[in-house]
């Protein structure tokens, strides 16, 4: 096995740098990151809205939002993608490309997860503060905006960052709804080099593995540091 490995290091790794392969792979990753970014951009405000509504005194509304959350908790994200991919274009009667479908599906998933983060953050604010606010004559919205949100934001940021890494990782599934992402580009490269470099798979998938790690690791490190800080602050 050892000589084989050395041999592949000589040939297989070259595939990554042949022609414009390297920039094509990065371009594929760019697509995935753009989709993640858009999904977070839409899902975040929506999730904050839904989370705020989940502490409203209306059991029908709370029930609906809970079912919405549980749906995304129970159905695997891959299956959610398939649901949107097969059903959405037909119901709307129009052609929708995979990227748009991914953004919509991910945004709704992000909104569901964020709604739960926001809800638990909001209810973590002690009741006596809310009573005080009410005594001062603050409205429901003012209580949310000036009392609950500012204090729970420290808890929310790490959770949002962790969710962001999950979204980025989940973009690896995009090839299954025919989006040209980094994995698809990798497969194209392996296909064209199948004769010259039959061992390209090891290097291409290894490289994509590394790419995802380079994107996600810093995010989760920042999340970890912020979590620690929030915990220490709460201890004081």
């Amino acid at each position: 096995m050892a000589p084989l490995l050395v041999e592949s290091a000589a040939s297989g790794a070259q595939v990554l740098f042949l022609g414009d392969n390297f920039s094509r792979l990065l371009g594929g990753l760019g697509t995935s990151l753009a989709i993640s970014g858009l999904a977070l951009l839409i899902g975040l405000p929506l999730g904050i809205l839904l989370g705020s509504l989940r502490i409203v005194d209306n059991w029908v509304l709370r029930g609906i939002l809970r079912v919405y959350l549980e749906f995304f908790r129970i159905v695997p994200t891959l299956v959610v993608l398939f649901l949107f991919y097969y059903i959405l274009p037909r119901e709307m009667g129009i052609q929708i490309d995979g990227k748009t479908i991914a953004v919509i599906a991910f945004a709704l998933w992000v909104a569901a997860e964020i709604s739960d983060v926001v809800r638990s953050g909001l209810i973590s604010v002690p009741d006596h503060q809310i009573e005080t606010g009410k005594a001062l004559g603050m409205s429901g919205f003012q209580l949310l905006w000036y009392v609950r949100l500012p204090q729970s934001i420290n808890l929310m940021i790490p959770a949002v960052l962790n969710l962001a890494t999950r979204v980025v990782k989940t973009t690896s599934l995009l090839l299954l709804i025919s989006v040209i992402d980094v994995v698809t580009v990798g497969q194209q490269i392996m296909e064209t080099n199948r004769m010259a470099h039959p061992d390209a798979a090891f290097w291409v998938y290894g490289f994509i593995f590394l790419l995802y790690f380079i994107v996600c690791w810093p995010l989760s490190m920042i999340a970890k540091a912020l979590e620690k800080r929030a915990k220490e602050r709460n201890r004081d």
Binding site: M1, I74, L78, V79, L173, A201, W203, Y205, G206
Partner: protein, 219 residues
């Protein structure tokens, strides 16, 4: 919606359901073992090994399962390591799950005051005795909520096994959609399949959480 399609494909789905269930169970058990070992080693700051497991956790928590599976299934054969799809699936998901479980256990262990470990050391307990009598009894109960969340997460992750053609639920649904173009029917069956596993599982785990919370003394 034509239910005769669902009826005809039911035997296939039942078999796939069995595959998903069996692989999920294997993955959860293996992940728990890997996670527990990694967490105990890191909790006691065993030199070299604890750095190794910390690196392992970061690596597998921050990369997608799909890429891990592709690497194992398509990448390794080119350096002479050939594994079956199912083996790759279980290894990949267990390594991923182990990294998450380790985090869950460590979180549980970190709730134990260090004074207890110091007292144990002062009483002359060996490392193994400390694990057995101090860390595990309290730490395991505290880890349950995180472990429960991970177990549910792992069952859902088995849907990704479809990419290396393991005949589990998602793969079966995809095959059938490809053959008969009845996406509504098969997607409905697929969602119900996961719901049958995950709804009872999450109820059981919530009950378990409640039980151990009552069992933990002195917060």
């Amino acid at each position: 919606m034509d239910f005769s399609y669902i009826q005809q494909s039911l035997p296939l789905f039942v078999r796939a359901f069995g595959v998903t269930l069996r692989l999920s169970a294997l993955v959860i058990i293996a992940s728990t073992i890997i996670g527990l070992v990694a967490a105990v080693i890191q909790h006691f700051r065993t030199p070299v090994l604890s750095q190794f497991f910390a690196a392992y956790e970061e690596l597998f928590r921050n990369t997608p399962l799909l890429i891990q599976l592709f690497f194992l299934y398509y990448g390794l054969p080119s350096i002479g390591v050939k594994l079956s799809a199912e083996t790759c699936a279980v290894i990949g998901a267990s390594l991923l799950g182990g990294a998450y479980m380790a985090g869950g256990f460590l979180g549980g262990f970190s709730g134990i005051p260090t004074s207890q470990l110091e007292s144990a050391r002062a009483l002359g307990l060996s490392q193994l005795q400390m694990v057995r009598y101090v860390t595990l009894p309290q730490g395991l109960a505290r880890s349950v909520p995180a472990l429960a969340a991970n177990a549910i997460f792992l069952v859902k992750e088995t849907s990704i096994f479809t990419v290396i053609a393991v005949p589990e639920l998602t793969n079966t649904a995809r095959d059938l959609i490809g053959m008969y173009y009845r996406s509504d029917e098969y997607l409905l069956t697929l969602v119900i399949g996961y719901a049958i596993i995950l709804i009872p599982l999450s109820i059981i785990l919530t009950l378990l959480e409640r039980r151990v919370r009552r069992g933990t003394f002195a917060r």
